[in-house]
């Protein structure tokens, strides 16, 4: 099996099928002055396979950036351990730094320098040979070429994200950590970047709130809430997880709307009932409840009945709550 040029040097297991392994990882932040502690990560365990694209989802403050920061050696865990490319991150910081790339949205670039100066600087820091050619190639792919000699302070938000992405792609890491990589990008550019990332054939650890990006890019999804991993699964299984209860939209003549809502509320297999204008939405416990549902609503003048396809937004909302 190809080891991607990793030198064999100690007894750790480089043949692991996983590029990232996390064992009982906990991170506690002390809140200064309040003598209070916040458990940002609580005994986290999961693994990311070689070449896999894992999307880490979760509401704000769930601990996503903390995981990324620990895995890229930016911060230390309170307890537990993690391996990157088979090596313990705490004892092999230099190795980890040489082999991972981190992108935090449109940050980590110098606004006071031109795009080219930014890329040249990081090329030298990462000891990249023939960097001018690589800068040109990546800039061309990201449509940055015309802007390379402009100061970054003059870039649009999307351009800054592209430059930040160019910076991390330039160093050609074995694992890419992308924290909100498409924020501020228009759908066309976002899609072209997704296509580009998929061609890279690298292990990617992605955090994002843009479900369409996660859906099109990721092989598996991990959902994090309040420092705990709620679920790690394929995106299909994530969607099926919600689909177990079908999402239904019903419309009824106005004069019977309240009666229908009352009837639906009395059905045990109806969840998450919401009313938006003339539309009534709810989740059906399981497909086997359809006959009972039809029987209950048969006396109402239904004008529309629709089963809505589940997407990751639904999963996100369901798991976040």
């Amino acid at each position: 099996m190809a080891l991607r040029g990793i030198k064999m040097g100690n007894n750790e297991n480089f043949n692991s099928e996983y590029d990232i392994e996390i064992f009982n990882l906990t991170k506690i932040y002390k809140i200064k002055g309040k003598k209070k502690e916040i458990k940002a990560l609580d005994n986290i365990n999961f693994k990311v396979k070689k070449g896999e694209i894992l999307g880490l989802l979760g509401p704000n403050g769930a601990g996503k950036t903390t995981i990324v920061s620990i895995l890229t050696t930016l911060i230390q865990p309170t307890s537990g351990s993690a391996k990157v490319l088979g090596r313990d991150i705490l004892n092999n910081k230099r190795f980890v730094k040489e082999n991972v790339g981190l992108m935090l949205g449109g940050d980590m670039i110098y606004y006071r320098l031109t795009g080219y100066r930014n890329l040249r600087f990081f090329s030298k820091i990462y000891n990249i040979k023939d960097y001018d050619k690589k800068i040109n190639d990546i800039s061309e792919k990201l449509n940055l070429t015309e802007w390379l000699n402009q100061y970054v302070e003059n870039y649009s938000a999307g351009m800054k994200v592209k430059l930040a992405l160019a910076r991390v792609l330039l160093i050609d890491p074995k694992i890419l950590f992308l924290d909100e990589p498409m924020l501020g990008l228009d759908p066309k550019i976002a899609k072209s970047i997704v296509d580009m990332l998929m061609k890279f054939n690298k292990t990617i650890f992605l955090t994002s709130h843009q479900m369409n990006i996660v859906e099109s890019l990721c092989d598996r999804i991990a959902f994090l809430r309040e420092g705990n991993i709620i679920k790690v699964d394929s995106k299909e299984n994530f969607k099926n997880f919600i689909k177990a209860g079908a999402k239904i939209q019903i419309n009824v003549s106005d004069n019977r709307k309240n009666d229908l809502i009352k009837t639906l509320n009395n059905l045990k297999f109806v969840d998450d009932l919401k009313v938006e204008n003339e539309n009534i939405f709810f989740v059906l416990g399981s497909e086997s409840n359809y006959p009972s549902l039809f029987e209950a609503i048969s006396k109402f003048p239904i004008t529309k009945f629709k089963e809505i396809e589940t997407d990751l937004d639904d999963v996100f909302i369901k798991l976040s709550s």
């Binding site: 050696t73 930016l74 230390q76 991972v100 006071r112 030298k124 820091i125 990462y126």
Partner: protein
């Protein structure tokens, strides 16, 4: 272990940091230019005051500070002031990097902390070189110095720059990790500068203050530079003020302080991370 490859990589990274910092400053050229002008304005007042004092009292002297040498004190003090700016520039740079969130890009990169120290230090020396060289040449013009002494003086100024750069890195890590404590350190730095006899002689202070000054490493750097320069003017006078402690303190702190600052940087960064942004 240092290998040819690692040395080459460290040199490349140092050059990258130098380039980056120079281009940062060139972004606002007028700011850079006015920062060069300031010292010329600042030196005018003490020149007038000391000139007047010594013209009234020609034989007035403290130690080797006299009507003949006060200008040497002042000029060397101004050269030192330029280097002193390195400390403040380190603080500013790391403060900005923290809020630009570019510090994470450096911290996540395989970059040695000594490279960070010397990369920034050398770039600061390059940026300060124009006004520094002007004052140095002016000093040479007024107080000619043998070439060997000049080389020693330049070496000592380089050691002084390392001293200030190391102080800068200590301040920088406090700015990154424990921003609140920087104010306390700043008070300490003010005392360090006040009690360094930068433009006055040691002998002008009361004995109790003198004993405190003699604990200040910065004093030995500045005094040694002046003594070496004075050797070209009045060798016997200069040598009578030279002590082994000068050499010991300068050597000790030129070597020790960079190591201490890097260790402190690593310990603080590991313990606290980047806070307060």
């Amino acid at each position: 272990m240092l290998t040819r490859k690692s040395i080459r990589r460290n040199v490349t990274q140092t050059v990258a940091l130098i380039e980056r910092n120079v281009f940062f400053e060139l972004r606002f050229k007028l700011v850079l230019f006015t920062s060069f002008l300031n010292p010329f304005i600042q030196i005018a007042m003490p020149l007038i005051i000391f000139g007047a004092i010594f013209s009234i009292s020609g034989d007035y002297s403290f130690g080797y500070w006299s009507g003949e040498t006060y200008l040497l004190f002042l000029l060397i003090a101004f050269c030192t002031q330029f280097l002193r700016r390195i400390v403040e520039n380190f603080r500013q740079l790391f403060f900005r990097e923290k809020f630009w969130k570019t510090l994470q890009a450096l911290m996540v990169a395989p970059i040695n902390r000594y490279v960070l120290l010397f990369g920034i230090l050398i770039s600061e020396m390059i940026l300060l070189s124009i006004p520094f060289t002007f004052f140095l040449v002016l000093t040479i013009f007024i107080f000619p110095i043998p070439i060997l002494n000049l080389l020693i003086v330049l070496g000592l100024f380089f050691c002084l720059a390392i001293f200030f750069g190391s102080l800068g890195l200590i301040v920088a890590v406090l700015i990154v990790t424990r921003e609140g404590t920087y104010r306390i350190v700043k008070i300490g730095l003010t005392f360090l500068y006040w009690l360094s006899c930068v433009s006055y002689p040691l002998q002008i202070f009361p004995e109790i203050v003198q004993s405190v000054i003699l604990l200040n490493p910065l004093y030995y750097f500045i005094d040694l530079i002046r003594i070496i320069w004075l050797m070209g003017i009045d060798y016997n006078l200069a040598i009578s003020y030279l002590s082994p402690l000068h050499i010991i303190m300068v050597s000790f702190f030129t070597i020790l302080l960079p190591i201490f600052s890097v260790v402190l940087f690593n310990v603080f960064y590991k313990k606290y991370g980047i806070t307060g942004y």
